[in-house]
């Protein structure tokens, strides 16, 4: 952790973010994707209006970046079984039909842009590889369960 990250306002903003928002996510994968969506791809800075209003835009951005790195570390440390469960939970939470979700995740690989900046390439490769296998496992599981018939 850098010296900048230890600033009291950043720590307070991180605690606030965890308490108010991240506790409502379904797991580390949901958390990582949510935090990645807070990042401006043009500047690399994280934007959260509520947090910036309570603290400062810089403290909010730093807090979001810290939490993003934390979620990534948690996700990488998961066993494949737990990661598959998290992916399943995330898939259900989106409300998308499993077949559509699995197809678009396999084709688009959206998780590739969801990792924090400065992530070690081996760790990122490890996560991508595990997600690829988890998707194959979920696809296998869903192929064995017949899709529910549409209600007339």
């Amino acid at each position: 952790m850098s010296a900048k990250a230890k600033r009291p306002d950043v720590l307070a903003a991180s605690a606030d973010l965890r308490r108010r928002t991240l506790t409502h996510t379904s797991g580390s994968l949901d958390c990582m994707i949510y935090l990645a969506s807070m990042r401006d791809y043009n500047t690399g800075l994280y934007v959260h209006q509520g947090l910036a209003a309570r603290f400062s835009p810089e403290a909010a951005s730093e807090a979001l970046a810290n939490c993003h790195r934390e979620c990534f570390r948690e996700l990488v440390s998961l066993e494949l079984k737990d990661l598959t469960e998290q992916l399943d939970l995330y898939m259900r939470s989106t409300g998308t039909a499993p077949r559509d979700f699995l197809r678009s995740w396999k084709d688009l690989e959206p998780y590739r842009v969801a990792v924090p900046v400065g992530t070690d390439s081996l760790m990122a490769q490890f996560l991508f590889s595990n997600l690829k296998i988890a998707l194959a496992i979920l696809e296998h599981q869903h192929s064995r369960v017949p899709e529910p018939a549409p209600v007339a």
């Binding site: 760790m123 590889s129 296998i133 296998h140």
Partner: protein, 194 residues
Amino acid sequence: MMQLVIFLAVAVGLLVLLLVAMRRQPLHAAGSAGELVTAKRTLESLQLGLLPAELVDQIFGERDFAYVAAIGSNEIRSLFLSERKCLALTWIRRVRKQVAALKEFHVSRSRMFSQMSRWKELSLAFDFKALEVRCRVLQLLLLWRGPYAASGFARRTAAAAGRVCSILDQSLAFLTPSIPVSLGTESDADGWMV
């Protein structure tokens, strides 16, 4: 008389060359400071990024394999094995590359900065060589037999690399207060970033 003048001129010339060479010493030392910092970063990248037992366990551990095997799909099993093989090969390539960078530093520069005895230096050179051979053998095993054929050997190789790193770390310990740990995680010797 003429011979004496020529002799003195040559002597003065040599003396001037010697003085010039001596004055160039600080420039050389400045260049080496960069190498020291690079060596320290490479060392940290190895110790914190590639060699921790948790990472080695994640790549070579068999719990994930057992989970995949229990699913009972040959397709998923093959995908898993090919992904892990690729990951294990990336890991060993990076370990080899960074060990080679550290060895290069040790051979060319470390003597200027460390208070190592000749015996310790020789022993470290031997350790480096043994580690290089180990890494090469492991790479061949991974290529030939896959990620789970040599998981014990991979763990022992990581432990051996860790031991060499700690010996080298002691000789670079004087740099520790000036270089924050985070530097090692921002960029490794390969400069591989996402």
